[in-house]
């Protein structure tokens, strides 16, 4: 169980002093204590927490119980200092028949989308929410699918109407007194620059974007619903691969493994830890390569040289990972308590392959930099566009290269270490530009750092003389004690990838919520794009590096 630190006690006292009768109870979650707040005062509680340094709302998840609904908020401190890092949870109960909780979207803007999702899937209403609509499912959907009582077999009807017709009426946005003469366009859901199935409802004034609203859910694949019907031990593991499907599978698997291993108290042998770390960093390289390649694709158009080089390097990484796990993309390699196979034989050859890649990498990175930064056209479009101030980024819960491109060095690997990262020597990459270019540069820098980690892991594995234990003893059926819950995160390729598991004592999770970094990063998109040129909006979208398997889940 979590330790209640001095800081937790102080903050609890502070809230009790400032807001008498706002705290109803204190619960214990695996990761941190949870303040049970008065459902109508939860925004005040969260505000006090925010003022006292818990400045990052990771996620909001709604959980159903027999006699109530719960809305659980996970707050963290964004910091680059391990000593300063801390987390705390807030819980608000809502009654069974008409679940409603006060919104916190006036405290954290990022809560807006999270609460809409909780409403969409679980049917918990948030009072005073500015925009309480469905977010993932079509507007015309019937029922809230994560509820126990939901009937999957009822017929549903969806319409083609979601696309507003641009010629039917002129869209006018009031700004000051003068109504602007504007034009409305739909971008997506199959537009090639949206990197998947995103629909942007855009209002243009000339060439300037005055209003943009992302419409998501075109790849909602019911991941949470499915995971809640599968066994912890083997059945859930293939699904994480499909959240962030751009080769970041190893990291996603780690996020699930970390959460359940902490909750069910499973050890991982050190040898397996090293392999996991190696695999995760290879995944990160492949993922960032695609991000850089497609960013160039968005700016230059048709299959250009950066894209091709990036794919060439991805092929090499995918081959290495295929040797390790047997699959190119959907690895299904991690197991609870370790990994599924030992390194491929002959090991020397495999190590040689990795070494060849990492040795050539500095030369290649130089080339990427020349191609990107030496190109005036690209620099003009990437530098100074898509500005995201660090304060705004924190408001929306942006993480990963997006946040680090705004100069905040928050990296879960550093502040809340897992796997083998603690023993290795690497740096967190940050850039202060806050623009599209910085975000891409951060990714390039991270590829180099990942290669450093990979090299060190290979060294360690080569000189390994202890027992090569790839999996610890895991009980035949994994079932954490009833009523326990845990939220942990890992540093995904796109940011903080968190998992919230609530156990009811069976072999299947009662609730499994995925905190997807892309979801939060995308929610800040309108801040980034409004006031920019339409063409720069596309560049900004590319620099966010979205993957819709993770946004929509």
């Amino acid at each position: 169980m979590s330790v209640v630190t001095r800081r937790h006690e102080e903050i609890q006292e502070k809230i009790e002093n400032e807001l008498p009768d706002a705290i109803l109870d204190i619960e214990e979650h695996q990761n941190a204590p949870a303040i049970v707040a008065n459902p109508s005062r939860v925004d005040d509680v969260v505000r006090v927490l925010k003022e006292n340094g818990y400045n990052h709302l990771s996620s909001v998840s709604a959980v159903e119980y027999e006699n109530r609904y719960e809305s659980v908020y996970h707050l963290r401190r964004i910091t680059d200092d391990r000593e300063d890092f801390d987390e705390i949870n807030v819980v608000a109960h809502a009654d069974r028949d008409e679940p409603a909780v006060q919104t916190v979207s006036n405290v954290f803007k990022g809560a807006n989308w999270h609460e809409r999702e909780a409403y969409d899937l679980m049917g918990v209403r948030y009072d005073d929410h500015p925009d309480m609509r469905r977010i993932l499912l079509p507007e015309t959907w019937n029922g809230h699918p994560l509820r126990e009582e939901y009937d999957v077999d009822q017929p549903q009807y969806t319409t083609l109407e979601a696309h507003a017709n641009p010629i039917e009426e002129r869209y006018e946005v009031d700004e000051d007194e003068s109504a602007l003469d504007t034009m409305f366009i739909n971008i997506g859901p199959h537009h090639p620059a949206t990197h998947g199935v995103l629909h942007l409802k855009t209002v243009l004034d000339g060439e300037v974007v005055v209003d943009v609203e992302p419409d998501i859910g075109y790849l909602h694949r019911c991941e949470e619903y499915l995971c809640e019907r599968l066994n912890y031990k083997y059945q859930i593991m293939p699904y994480p691969d499909r959240w962030d499907y751009i080769s970041a599978g190893m990291i996603n698997e780690m996020s699930y493994a970390r959460c359940i291993e902490e909750l069910a108290d499973i050890d991982v042998p050190e040898y397996a830890q090293v392999i996991r770390t190696l695999a995760q960093e290879l995944s990160r390289i492949a993922s960032h390569m695609l991000a850089v390649g497609t960013f160039a694709l968005d700016l230059y158009g048709e299959l250009n040289v950066i894209f091709m080089y990036a794919f060439k390097d991805r092929e090499i990484v995918q081959e290495i990972l295929e040797d390790l796990s047997g699959q190119r993309l959907m690895f299904n390699y991690l197991r609870l308590g370790g990994v599924s196979y030992d390194l491929p034989e002959p090991r020397e050859e495999w190590f040689e392959k990795i070494r060849d890649f990492t040795e050539e990498l500095p030369e290649k990175m130089k080339e990427y930099r020349t191609l990107l930064e030496g190109n005036e056209l690209l620099m003009k479009r990437a530098e100074g566009t898509g500005i995201l101030e660090p304060e705004v980024a924190k408001e929306y819960g942006c993480t990963g290269p997006i946040l680090r491109g705004s100069g905040v060095g928050y990296d879960v690997r550093e502040v809340d270490p897992y796997s083998y990262y603690d023993e290795l020597d690497w740096d967190v990459v940050t850039k202060d530009g806050c623009d599209n270019l910085s975000r891409v540069q951060v990714r390039l820098g991270e590829v180099e750092q990942s290669a450093r980690i990979v090299e060190q892991c290979v060294d360690i594995l080569e000189d390994w003389d202890g027992e090569q234990e790839i999996q610890s003893r895991v009980p035949r059926s994994v079932s954490p004690p009833a009523g326990t819950e845990n939220y942990t995160a890992v540093e995904g390729a796109k940011g903080e990838l968190g998992i919230h598991i609530v156990s009811d004592g069976t072999e299947q999770p009662h609730r499994l919520k995925i905190r997807s970094p892309c979801f939060s990063n995308l929610s800040a998109f309108s801040e980034l794009a409004e006031g920019e040129y339409l063409a720069d909006m596309i560049a900004t979208l590319g620099s966010l590096d979205l993957v819709f398997g993770e946004v929509d889940r």
């Binding site: 019937n142 549903q156 009807y157 090639p192 499915l226 019907r229 499909r242 091709m308 993309l329 398997g549």
Partner: protein, 245 residues
Amino acid sequence: MLDTSKTQISERREGDVDPRMNSKLREMFGSLPIVTTSLDKVMNWARASSMFPFQFGIACCSIEMMHTVAIKHDMDRFGAGVFRNSPRQADLMIVPGTINAKLAPRVKRLYDQIPEPKFVVSMGSCTISGGPFQEGYCVVKGLETFAPVDIHVPGCPPRPEALLYGVMKMQEKIKRGESSPVTVKPYEIRELQDWDRDEVADFFEDELEPDTLVMNYTHSPELREVSEVEEGVNPTTPAEPTEGD
């Protein structure tokens, strides 16, 4: 509203000449069998040798599709590498990924917007049956439930080599002028006014125009009775309903 739902999808059967291969010239020279046969051959050869796939990424499979186009696998070597961003310029639709109830009407519309003759390669188990997400509450169980498919490429995701093989099989079929039997299961997209009154939730009555296109989604298509579908109302239903689904 564009009435794209009414595109006729002709019935196709193995062995017969695919009506999609018909051309105006063929109609003109109908009485001169030798000329038309050779002409058809040339046309089909041309069609197969320069396919224009439609660039349409949905999910994980589209990453492998990008690898198929990019360096190393390079689909261009087989005359099918020029991806078009607009359905109007394409003739091959590769559908790479999971389709859910929100996306399905859009995929249908994109399919309808591709000019004839058009061919569909479905990539990955998601487009065959819903794949790993089959049990999901809003996942459509396969592309074939609302659009005809010529070639299925199984896998999750299929390797680039597998997709190449699938596309080449497609080309072979086109060259020979034949195509696969089509089974379209009855997922319907109809105008609101065509639905039985009690079938449509009251909600729609007040909210929508009578000519709005509405698609229904059922979690378990086998629960529905096929006979419900009136002939001719749903253009995607083949004239002879295939037995069972």
